[in-house]
């Protein structure tokens, strides 16, 4: 079995998938990328990126607290992000855009998480994996939890798809047509909460933007139809995740870096190409 890079990508992939940790990483990474791509599309459409960012930080406190009490961090993540998401939804969409107030809560939650981590052991490894992701440490149990959460999310998005799109694009008309702005807001925040919780395993709370926002921002610039946009958003997130995992197998640097670098590059390329097009049309 060879672990050095050859230009035969199939045999490279075969050799890395012989390791359980790599197989689990690819499984969880694939599921998370799909979910992040889908939910991310709506996050960008609704301009809720900062709310999503804040939820991941609130989740950090929950995960750290769970570690402290010997509970699976994913439980702490889900409880805190859902609670935070519900609270934000109660404040309403306009309130969810109040970045100063959200930022204040976010900073406190991060501080709380740091306290829990230091109470736990004084070691920084747990904190590090929560903050920056630890995809190579995912167990088969984690993969199962991720899969179940992902399936629930996909079904939920399938159900609320049209009202969610409607409230995102034309809230007042949707309300007049009988859509409950409040409940769609609650459901959406809970969707972000669950998506964030499972995505933290891959990129960590600090880098959640890279998977939940950047691919969707690329899609938003390219796609005209929502279905198309979601497919592109998922594709960018997937390719970046696979690329990151593949490269990191050969290089001693964090997977998170390669994933964030890949999505960032995709965003730059799209902006660059579109910018050039605009200049070319105007010239």
């Amino acid at each position: 079995m060879s672990t050095s890079f050859s230009f035969n990508l199939v045999s490279d992939l075969q050799s890395m998938l012989q390791y359980d940790f790599m197989r689990h990483a690819f499984e969880a990474g694939t599921i998370v990328a799909i979910i992040a791509g889908i939910i991310g599309y709506f996050i960008v459409l609704r301009r809720s990126a900062f709310a999503a960012h804040a939820l991941s930080h609130i989740g950090f406190a929950g995960a750290a607290g769970a570690v402290l009490f010997g509970i699976n961090p994913i439980i702490g993540l889900l409880v805190f992000t859902s609670g935070g998401g519900f609270a934000m939804a109660m404040l309403g969409r306009k309130a969810a855009n109040r970045d100063v107030q959200i930022g204040i809560v976010l900073a406190f939650m991060l501080g709380l998480g740091v306290l829990f981590i230091s109470l736990y052991s004084g070691y920084a490894t747990e904190a590090y994996s929560l903050l920056f992701g630890e995809i190579l440490g995912i167990s088969s149990g984690d993969v199962l939890v991720t899969l179940v959460a992902a399936l629930v999310l996909i079904v939920a998005v399938g159900i609320v798809y049209r009202p969610l799109l409607f409230t995102s694009l034309d809230e007042d008309v949707a309300e007049a047509k009988g859509v409950s702005i409040f409940w769609i807001g609650v459901v959406f925040m809970l969707l972000i909460a669950v998506a964030t919780s499972i995505a933290v395993q891959v990129v960590g709370v600090l880098l959640i933007f890279a998977l939940m926002v950047t691919p969707a921002a690329v899609a938003q610039r390219v796609a005209r139809r929502p279905a198309q946009g979601i497919v592109i958003s998922v594709a960018v997130a997937l390719l970046a995740t696979w690329f990151g995992l593949f490269i990191s197998f050969y290089l001693p640097y964090p997977v998170s870096f390669f994933i964030t670098a890949a999505t960032f590059a995709a965003y730059l390329v799209v902006r660059g190409v579109q910018g050039a097009k605009v200049r070319w049309v105007k010239a």
Binding site: R47, D170, V173
Partner: protein, 267 residues
């Protein structure tokens, strides 16, 4: 055009609990009428719309629409609000938004949706915006967006259109074009249209009726009945003069200090 009224208000009061913006309002609107809703900012024009949409409850009196109490989600009403969360970054195409006017309140993904897309194209055709179907909303001009919103309101084939300041932010030429477009829809389809406006002039020759909201009261009648010095003086309780130029365009002038009315004069 049937003579049955589609909207009947009796001793109606609107506003916030404990703080009526207007009260003692009686009027009726017939099917197929083109009606402008006029009055200064904050007089409660949008409040009237929200009541018709079932989003606000009367503080007193009663209002009926198609013989029933207003209810949210009434498919017979097409609505164009004043504000839309669309900016230059919105990449979604116009056709998709128009389609949501038909089935955006239903659960599920509505994938496929050939029938809905056909209806959306049809609605765009009605407002003369079929060439905008696949353009992204973010790159459309204010006038183009208004036509898209009108198509979104028309896709469900409503009997009543509520348009909240669709002429705001349009230049004078587009204002006139858009007023003609709404008039055509009203006449061809027998739709009743209520349109909140600040500048009456592009609408004056097209209107059947005016609803004037000011000073805690609402007065209705034909433009000639309402937009004259006597009625407006009585409504505001201060001297008001309505002046006409050689083309029949009117200017409403408050003779004394009337700060809440000043914005109305600059046309």
């Amino acid at each position: 055009m049937s003579s049955e009224p589609v909207i009947i208000a009796k001793d109606l009061a609107g506003g916030y609990p404990g703080n009526a913006v207007w009260k003692g309002v009686d009027f009726s609107i017939k099917q197929g009428e083109f009606v402008a809703v006029l009055g200064p900012n904050g007089a409660g024009k949008t409040t009237l719309f929200r009541m018709l949409l079932g989003l606000a409850q009367p503080l007193g009196g009663s209002i009926s629409i198609f013989g029933e109490r207003p209810q949210r989600g009434n498919a017979r009403i097409g609505y164009v609000p004043q504000k839309h969360p669309i900016d230059s970054e919105t990449g979604v195409e116009a056709l998709e938004l128009v389609r949501l006017g038909l089935d955006g309140n239903r659960w599920g993904t509505g994938m496929g949706g050939g029938k809905e897309m056909e209806a959306a194209l049809d609605a765009l055709l009605t407002v003369g915006a079929e060439e905008l179907a696949h353009r992204s909303l973010g790159e459309l001009s204010g006038g183009e967006l208004q036509r898209i919103f009108l198509a979104e309101a028309l896709i469900g084939k409503p009997d009543l259109l509520l348009l909240d300041e669709p002429l705001a932010n349009l230049d004078m030429r587009r204002e006139a074009d858009f007023a003609q477009l709404i008039n055509r829809v009203v006449r061809e389809r027998g739709v009743t249209a209520l349109l909140i406006a600040h500048n009456i002039n592009p609408l004056l020759s097209l209107l059947d009726r005016v609803i004037y909201v000011a000073n805690g009261r609402i007065t209705t009648g034909t433009p000639a009945e309402v937009l004259n010095s006597k009625v407006l003086t009585d409504l505001y309780g201060i001297p008001i003069e309505v002046l006409k130029d050689s083309h029949g365009r009117i200017v409403i002038v408050g003779m004394d200090e009337a700060p809440e009315h000043e914005h109305h004069l600059h046309h």
